[in-house]
Symmetry: C2
Subunit: 231 residues, 2 copies
DNA sequence: GCAATAGTGTCTTTTAGACACTATCTG
DNA sequence: CAGATAGTGTCTAAAAGACACTATTGC
């Protein structure tokens, strides 16, 4: 085989989605340094070969350190994360041939509320500015993945807080898939899948509004994919 | 940010599937060199930063050069290929921290018939030996991807020659999804999707066998995913 | 009771599965 | 014509969509 000294720059970037004001938002920051200083970009960073167990661990580290995402006991990430894809090439970054392993993270908005200021922002995905590098492609691919997988999995629920109403859940599916759903069919399907569990609690709306309170549900453990489509 | 000199080994590996004798097979070779000399492994190689436009181009180059996969005019690959995922970590390869961008290739068996000998083989996926590195995980992930996507796309048709009978197509779906399908429902669905086009030709079986000849079909261009499931 | 939202029941339409029936070939 | 596989039609069962109806709250 050829020379091992490839000198390739290896980074990880993260497309973090959440739902805010009933719209899908993505987490971006304005780059403080060159290259592309000042442009909006995805959060990310170098993989540390002496510290990170792999690209996923690097991405977790970066999101916990820089964005302040929550962890459970032992530092385990408390958010949904999956690998999206990898971008590579000689021209993506003018510093040289580079590889970026990109992850998709879905979190409830509440996980983010304490973390902001200094050039970090949630922007709605349908009103994005041009992004640095090929980050625009990455966001587009992430949206495609979310949209596709949402029709046959519980992914949209990862955008919600731990307890939620049926209306919240349906809204999350509508936002994630981009399709308007039929309420009775939606309820039937979610129930048939045993995807959620009744908490016994109810939600009475912001200030008492004189309506029937909605039951609060919680995701049943584990369930992630199913075999029929929703939208 | 930290030191740019990460010295990470960046390779690409390929999980190539085809259907042979009505079973799914994967292309493997016995490693001629250390590490893991003599063990079965996926074909792959280093990304060349001065030559390859990216990981996908590197994988194409390797498969065309080493395995002899066909190209169209201009060297464009004539086979189906998509990125599967990326594996990375300090311990995958004892030479150091390594990253491998893995691709899934689907080809008709006929594309492979001229290329063999010297430690390269098609092995049935349900009778694999232990593989080198983490290549066993890669094959498992590729099978999961194929299985999943096959229920809502024309992927299985990529395992067939350019023209095929309805029975061939159904068989390919059954092999790719692992599920037995209902013939009339399958036909109805494929037809409703306008996924295939009648070539006008027929197939009379290996030696005339005294049966009604089957129509030969061809994939309609482009169509890859649909919105209802098949299995 | 009224207004407002939550949640259920039921009728209709669509889609899937089972399986019998017709079609086209060879010897 | 018999036998074999290709391909279609039709009946039944299951699932989705539309939408009306009941339930529970605050005022």
């Amino acid at each position: 085989m050829s020379d091992h000294r490839q000198n390739i720059i290896v980074t990880t970037d993260v497309v973090l989605f959440t739902i805010k004001d009933d719209r899908l938002h993505v987490l971006l920051h304005q780059r403080p340094n060159e290259p592309c200083k000042g442009e909006w970009a995805l959060p990310g960073g170098y993989i540390r070969t002496n510290e990170d167990k792999g690209a996923e661990a690097a991405a977790e580290r970066i999101m916990i350190e820089k964005i302040g995402l929550p962890t459970q006991m032992g530092g385990t990430p408390a958010f949904y994360m999956e690998q999206l894809s990898t971008w590579s090439g000689p021209d993506r970054d003018k510093r040289g041939f580079s590889v970026s392993v990109v992850f998709l993270i879905l979190v409830p908005e509440a996980y983010l509320q304490t973390t902001f200021g200094h050039g970090i922002a949630l922007l709605p995905v349908d009103e994005l500015p041009d992004l640095a590098f090929d980050h625009g492609d990455m966001v587009a691919a992430a949206m495609k993945r979310l949209r596709g997988k949402s029709t046959y999995s519980s992914l949209p629920a990862m955008l919600l807080p731990e307890t939620f109403t049926m209306a919240d859940l349906q809204k999350a599916y509508e936002i994630a898939t981009g399709a308007k759903l039929n309420t009775s069919a939606f309820t039937r399907k979610i129930m048939a899948l045993d995807m959620i569990v009744d908490t016994g609690e109810v939600y009475r709306g912001p200030g008492a509004r004189g309506t029937r309170p909605a039951k609060l549900w919680r995701l049943a453990d584990g369930r992630v994919t199913f075999d029929r489509t929703l939208a």
